[in-house]
Amino acid sequence: METIIVLAHTENASSLAKPVREALHAAAMLHKSLAGSKLVVGLVGDNVQAAANSIAASPVTKYFGVTGADFAQSRYATDAAAAEAICKVAQATVVVAPATSRWARVLPGVAQRLGGRADTHVTGVAAADGKISVNRWYYRQRMESTQTRTQRPWIIGIDPGSQEPCGCGAGTASVEMVAVNLADAAKRTTVVGIREPKADAQTIRPDAQLLFVTGAGWTKKQADGQTHVPEAEKLILDFLKAARASLGSSKSLVDLGGEGQAVLPFLSHLNQIGQTGATPRHAKGLSTCCHGEEPHTVGWRFIGERRAISLDPNCGWARGKADVLYVADAFKVMAKVNELLTA
């Protein structure tokens, strides 16, 4: 009989992020299809009661918690100790967890401590004939597998955005607290802050409907034989503001910045889409001046509707990868788009 635990950490104000609800949904579906299984939740954070209450109207039969100021920080040593303790007390055999940056850092190590195995980049969990299988990506979203494991506990990291969030409502949950004795060695690291661009300079918006991808073409010589980088910068930033889009970039464009060339100053490697960048999830994506090859295409895997603006009708990225390719000058098109969006 499998004991499925959803392992989660709280956010500020003891809330649960959307990826936790997605993992809970996946675990609940697995529990439903696995006769005799138990579904429990383990929570880690400064205070977990409010978080447990927020999902109390769910098929979960028991809640475990590790709380305290030491567990408010996103820190490997304390998170690993907390997750390990909860899994042991709950006698978990299957651990379903959202692959947030905090859990992605720690869960494979927890699997090692528990003598189990960890699978990452999972986008589906199912059971048939009492056997659990997962769908997961390999080679950076280039290929997908269906696989099973005999080892337990099996830690399954669910890619955020890949599941429906659990619609379970609030109530009152009874949380069994699990004590964790931390050695001083577990506190050698301290989280001292979060560094982020100013609110009006933040170009990465994971919750945006639209991903706007800029390619190196924005910095190349245009029809008049000149580059128009300041104009490109204004067009792009104005569009992001008007459309509330998230900004992505090809590798070549952010690499130009790293090489000290005067290019679009708001782009960094964090904006890079592709094999060595991000693979974000957005409903729509608009590509401009981009001539991406296979590694860039990998980053578009989870973008729903795709359109592209390029001067090259044979653009290798757009043909077969985008739904619509507009053969046009992106400077002119985006200027008009901005005008229409702000009218």
């Binding site: 940056s101 699997a111 050698r188 790293g258 490697h269 509707e305 098109v333």
Partner: protein
């Protein structure tokens, strides 16, 4: 305060990212079609880790860099011809699969045992570097398990910057959600850092560095320990490429104004 570090970088070879990859079934499980024929490169994120390690060693007198690589010996040798010209390091090679379908736990066990066996390793000076995940295989689990097996509980993933403070403490910037970085401070070594892109450009080839490195690279390859990864308990039911070909509508004859109208309509839909 200046501490000499022993920096061990875990990194191996992957198919050149520009290659099209196709899965196939082999007697030992899934594999890539023509895997041994595909041109290989040093894993990009592991490469960043190596360059950051070399940079740290350069600015911290007495430090040394090892590169621990698990991969088919012949392919490792090819890639090392280029990598060895970039920065100084000592290679420790393991002759085994570099496939993305190998089990991260088994890979990590082989790497950790090899690191632990490096002669003269002083854990109080040890920094273990690697990519936060392979930029090709993408397990995202190997480094954490290596750290656990070595007893390192100060671990950081998605690192873009490391600063050694005057008091010997380490300050890391780790990528987190929403284009932000978490800033953490660690008392010092031992620590494990899974690097993202970092801040350094790829160093230019330096034949002199290459000559020095090759003195240890070739012997290391000759004595590379055969390593078998059995994939115990893991059963693949299916591995396939996702359907990705779209019927692209090419719009050539519309004015910028018309295209803009269409795009705005699409965005608002």
């Amino acid at each position: 305060m200046s501490t000499a570090y022993q920096i061990v970088v875990c990194g191996s070879i992957v198919p050149d990212p520009l290659q099209t990859l196709e899965p196939m079934t082999s007697p030992t499980g899934p594999a890539l079609k023509n895997e041994m024929m595909l041109p290989a490169v040093l894993d990009p994120w592991a490469g960043h880790a190596l360059f950051e390690a070399a940079n740290l060693a350069k600015h911290t007198p007495g430090s040394k860099v090892w590169l621990v690589a698990l991969g088919p010996k012949a392919k490792l040798q090819q890639v090392m011809m280029t990598v060895a010209q970039k920065v100084p390091f000592e290679l420790v090679a393991l002759d085994g699969p570099a496939s993305g379908f190998t089990d991260a736990t088994e890979t990590a066990a082989a790497l950790a045992d090899t690191i632990a066996a490096i002669p003269g390793l002083d854990k109080s000076k040890l920094l273990v570097f690697g990519g936060w995940e392979s930029a090709s295989r993408g397990a995202g689990a190997t480094m954490q398990i290596v750290g656990e097996r070595l007893g390192i509980v100060d671990q950081f993933q998605g690192v873009d910057q490391l600063t050694v403070n005057a008091d010997g403490s380490l300050e890391m910037l780790e990528r987190i959600e929403g284009g932000k970085h978490q800033v953490s401070k660690c008392a010092g070594a031992p620590a494990l850092l899974g690097w993202a892109t970092g801040n350094l450009p790829e160093p230019k080839n330096n034949p002199q560095v290459g000559m020095v490195n090759m003195r240890t690279v070739m012997p290391a390859l000759q004595k590379a320990k055969p390593t078998k990864l059995a994939g115990e308990g893991l059963v693949f039911a299916n591995v396939a490429l996702p359907k990705q070909l779209r019927e692209t509508l090419i719009v050539k004859d519309k004015s910028p104004d018309d295209i803009a109208n269409e795009i705005v309509e699409w965005i608002k839909k």
